[in-house]
Symmetry: C2
Subunit: 142 residues, 2 copies
Amino acid sequence: MVDRSALASVLQLGFSRATGPRKIVVETVVAWEGHFSAEELCRSLPQVGRATVYRTLASLQEEGVICRLMIDGRAPRYLLGGTQHHHHMVCTQCGAVQDIADCGVDDFVDTVAERFGYELDGHRLEIYGRCSTCVGGEGASS
Amino acid sequence: MVDRSALASVLQLGFSRATGPRKIVVETVVAWEGHFSAEELCRSLPQVGRATVYRTLASLQEEGVICRLMIDGRAPRYLLGGTQHHHHMVCTQCGAVQDIADCGVDDFVDTVAERFGYELDGHRLEIYGRCSTCVGGEGASS
DNA sequence: CACCAATTGAGACTTTATCTCAGGAGTGGT
DNA sequence: ACCACTCCTGAGATAAAGTCTCAATTGGTG
Ligand SMILES: [Zn+2]
Ligand SMILES: [Zn+2]
Ligand SMILES: [Zn+2]
Ligand SMILES: [Zn+2]
């Protein structure tokens, strides 16, 4: 669940002014269902320049309002709710994405970092599969 | 450790002919130390066309000879040894990459897939940190 | 309201990757 | 060794994704 009332406090996002174009971008992002690419956002906001869209997305990501999802060789996709550490379960067929709230792998990650003598920065885990809808739909047909 | 004698059997890579350009690409990839991007490979093989380099990389990846490493928003990097499932520990400072042979997270992954009712396809885990060399070097200086 | 620095955005440019198709080269048969 | 047949190659066009520039605009402040 995303706290839309946090929007106001987030509008300035490392800038010093709450401007019109940025409001439009932030409001669109907050209202967006599911994930989107930067270019998709640009296309749906022709009244806002591409540079501003990209700048705002970068800020939103730094502020933890959105998180970036890298799937295969495709363009990054963005998703509301990057505030706390989490992972994603992605449907390879329909593209649905579930947030996995509990990390579940931090012990293993710590162990590995220690084994290699690394000073840990972070980690990224993505799980791929087919969601129940996609599996069900296929099973029913043919 | 990569079995270079497997090279011969790999040269055809889903094609029906073992051609000169492909030999050059495969041999260069096998001899490469560390990871590389497609463009780096192109640059170091001006005698081979870009299309062929990309085609061969795609085949090598499908065959599991190399694995693709996505770091942040940068271009994919390739690395020998994708035959069996594994993960990577990446140094965010110098770019060094360690293979993590043991998966270590498959139980968690299974649990999550079951929880969401997904039919599992696979998963990707990358761990970021600074390697002992980078940490040591920094600690010693300034 | 005026001022001024912060911000915007059109468009050029860069990087990375895919596509096209005429010409070139590997293979198997003879 | 040669031919023929087909697959493969590569120069260059095109596409996709994102960054950069800088003149014009605008929000915030007093
Ligand atoms: Zn699905
Ligand atoms: Zn985690
Ligand atoms: Zn390092
Ligand atoms: Zn694994």
